[in-house]
């Protein structure tokens, strides 16, 4: 089912080169010229955008942790009225804004983190967190609860899943923006997700050295506070042919209605 192939080919021909060069600069020109739509990207589109067009079309969208902004552009192509992005890496946020101005897209990116959102007054129809949930380890129920003032629907799609338990894999690594030289330590903020193998009282505990944590983002845990509309874990391990560690192993999809 190559539902997204056509729109991704259009993205590739219209936007991929400019978006890549706007963010990564001329040193990424060769990569930008050779950008191709691979089947794994089509698969991800079919899980990330295609099933949720009712939450995208004619809506104002917020994309938390947008990265390069590719999904934000694809949401605009799927009919979104506007997309606002949040991305803490300065060079990415700046590049997206330059790209959006060049193509006159209703897309703006703020250099901020998800915690900064709570201080903002804007309201959005839908909030997306795509491949960023792994960095938001404090993406716990009460934080999502605070998003009630911000949005009606929250959609979390992530490839960082734990293949054994099929749950969101939360990285515990230091994030560092090489371009600006700014490091931001997500674990410095309050860890309020359910913990199983973490002892924060000991700074030398090996959990500080990057040991995996598993955030139990499952319907059972969240059904008391939210209206779970969709939850699925898709395993791609049998289909992947990629050799490196970033091979797409699976996808985690979690959709909740934050208000009744």
């Amino acid at each position: 089912m190559d539902y997204g192939l056509e729109i991704l080919e259009e993205f590739s021909s219209l936007y991929a080169y400019d978006l890549t060069v706007a963010i990564f600069g001329s040193e990424a020109e060769l990569y930008a010229e050779d950008f191709t739509v691979e089947q794994s990207l089509v698969d991800r589109y079919n899980l990330t955008i295609a099933p949720y067009t009712e939450f995208i079309k004619d809506k104002h969208i917020l994309d938390i942790g947008c990265g390069t902004g590719m999904w934000a552009v694809l949401m605009l192509m799927a009919g979104a009225k506007s997309v606002t992005c949040i991305e803490p890496k300065r060079f990415m946020a700046d590049g997206i804004n330059v790209f959006a101005q060049k193509h006159k897209l209703n897309l703006v990116c703020h250099c901020a983190t998800h915690l900064d959102l709570l201080e903002r007054d804007e309201v959005y129809d839908t909030v997306f967190v795509i491949d960023a949930g792994c960095n938001l380890y404090n993406f716990a129920p009460h934080y999502i609860g605070q998003l009630r003032n911000l949005t009606n629907h929250l959609i979390i799609v992530d490839k960082h899943i734990d293949p054994v338990y099929g749950e969101l894999y939360v990285k515990r690594i230091k994030s560092f923006d090489h371009r600006s030289g700014i490091s931001f330590l997500p674990w410095e903020t309050v860890f309020d997700a359910p913990q199983t193998d973490l002892d924060d009282s000991d700074p030398d505990n090996d959990s500080r050295q990057g040991r995996a944590l598993y955030m139990y983002m499952s319907p059972e845990y969240y059904k008391h506070a939210f209206w779970v509309l969709d939850y699925k874990v898709v395993d791609f391990r049998e289909n992947t042919t990629a050799i490196n560690q970033s091979a797409l192993l699976g996808m985690f999809v979690f959709v909740v209605k934050t208000t009744q």
């Binding site: 991929a16 978006l19 890549t20 990564f24 600069g25 001329s26 040193e27 990424a28 020109e29 060769l30 990569y31 010229e33 050779d34 950008f35 191709t36 990207l41 991800r44 990265g67 390069t68 590719m70 999904w71 491949d131 090489h178 371009r179 990629a242 050799i243 490196n244 560690q245 970033s246 091979a247």
Partner: protein
Amino acid sequence: MKNSNYLERIRFAIEIVNLKEHSPDWMNPGDPNWDQILDPCISIGIDSLSDNITDELLDRYILLPGPNTLIFDYTVYNIGEHQLKIKIHDIENDNWLLPPIQINKLRIQSIPVLPNGIYYPADSNEELFGARLLGQRGEWKFTFITPVKESGGLKLGLWS
């Protein structure tokens, strides 16, 4: 350029720092006539370890005092381990105690990577892991796996 027979095209950027000091004359430390510019012959090449293919280019570079960025492109045809190798062929007044050239940064497709290569001195069988100072005649090698666009460590691309 799409759907060609190559695996990928990679642009490397290597920042080499010319560490040659100012005038050694303690009476005249700021002597403007003292030439801090280096113009070594440097060979930069890629080895495909799986297919025993070597591609190497020898050229003379002008290295101004401080950081200098060398950019070059390479086309990869096969999957697997590759080695970027850099060798300084001649520097006047080279001194093994104070090597005047250092590899400071390495970027692949604009993405900074930790340049944790291995330095092989010419006159010994040592392997100096993590060394960044390049002495004369030795060789510095950095291993990477192609296709780099699928590398989890590089975080390259629009959707990585």
